[in-house]
Symmetry: C2
Subunit: 187 residues, 2 copies
Amino acid sequence: MSVLREKILNTASVLFQTQGINSTGVDTIVAEAGTTKMTLYKYFNSKELLILEVLKQGHQDFQTWLNDKLSANSKVPSEKLQKLFDYIEEWLTSPDFHGIGFIKASAEFPREDSAVHQLSTRQSLQFREYIQHLATEANIKDAEGLALQLSLLFKGAAQAEQMQRGSDAIKYAKKAAKILIDGALKN
Amino acid sequence: MSVLREKILNTASVLFQTQGINSTGVDTIVAEAGTTKMTLYKYFNSKELLILEVLKQGHQDFQTWLNDKLSANSKVPSEKLQKLFDYIEEWLTSPDFHGIGFIKASAEFPREDSAVHQLSTRQSLQFREYIQHLATEANIKDAEGLALQLSLLFKGAAQAEQMQRGSDAIKYAKKAAKILIDGALKN
DNA sequence: GACTGATTATACTAATCGGTATACTTATTA
DNA sequence: TAATAAGTATACCGATTAGTATAATCAGTC
């Protein structure tokens, strides 16, 4: 893949998160990326397609990073579940964290017929299903329910961190997650 | 207060939630409200001030509604805490619910020096402090921690409902809240 | 009936937006 | 050296944006 395409993608990702998607113009992106609009529109046919690509890459980066971490450092399935929020904390508090894409995108594109909104919803669901998969492997009875609850805590923590960086939200999200997971493992 | 001013305020509130704040132009608001830009700018000196007023009214509406419900239907302090998510569910699932303002506003105005972002953060904090007040009155030891956790669940549920109306998120948020509250009441 | 204040109607500005057209400059390669 | 492809530079388009100026219209009140 072209190095310029990636440069544009990364630049847009940062700008979207720090300034907002709708508030970031195409001219700003190309200026920051050190290229021109002609090149941007060669790789992305429209701003909407660029947004979709940014979302896809961001979500995939997060999912593979998380999955790699969990797979490398856990032996039994239940361990993955218990360490889940440790890595979520690591991700949310990392200095180059700029927010969870699909959370902000769904706020900026509330209309359900919007392609951006639809992709956001799909990614949110996909993340929940990943947690549900972990819960199922850990032999948890109501895996769907626990996954939904952990997903809520994750969204809440990400939202809190997005509002105010360095808040205690993640710490308490971890504690709450531990209570819910331990309770579910006993049944 | 002028009836026209309120009409503009309510119209803007609905449009902001359904179409997004930045995506809603002033012309659209006045057309939908059945008035003109001259009148709008007579009551609100700028679009930013209108946004701030919409946020203020929305937050106050929610806070007073919730507080009234809790005060009217609870006898002992701990009962308020236990019924909290019942009313949150009622609010989130009501047909004229259009999202929690400060959650979406903070996503559309991510810059910390933005007045809208700052107000959103303040309102989020204020809501958390309200829950903390309930927890303190119920003699809960780590009232701050519980309030933060319940606040996370609330944000997560609101965010989920905003992504996809009629999701099961609130049901499971209630269950999670009950577990956390019951656990905190025992200590 | 004349005055007053609130509201409307309409036209306008200056800036910004996403997107395109055209011409020029590189670097690679055959 | 000629040809091809990638990228740059720049100017432009039509639409939309927030906000303003001006004149007309309406209601009620003295």
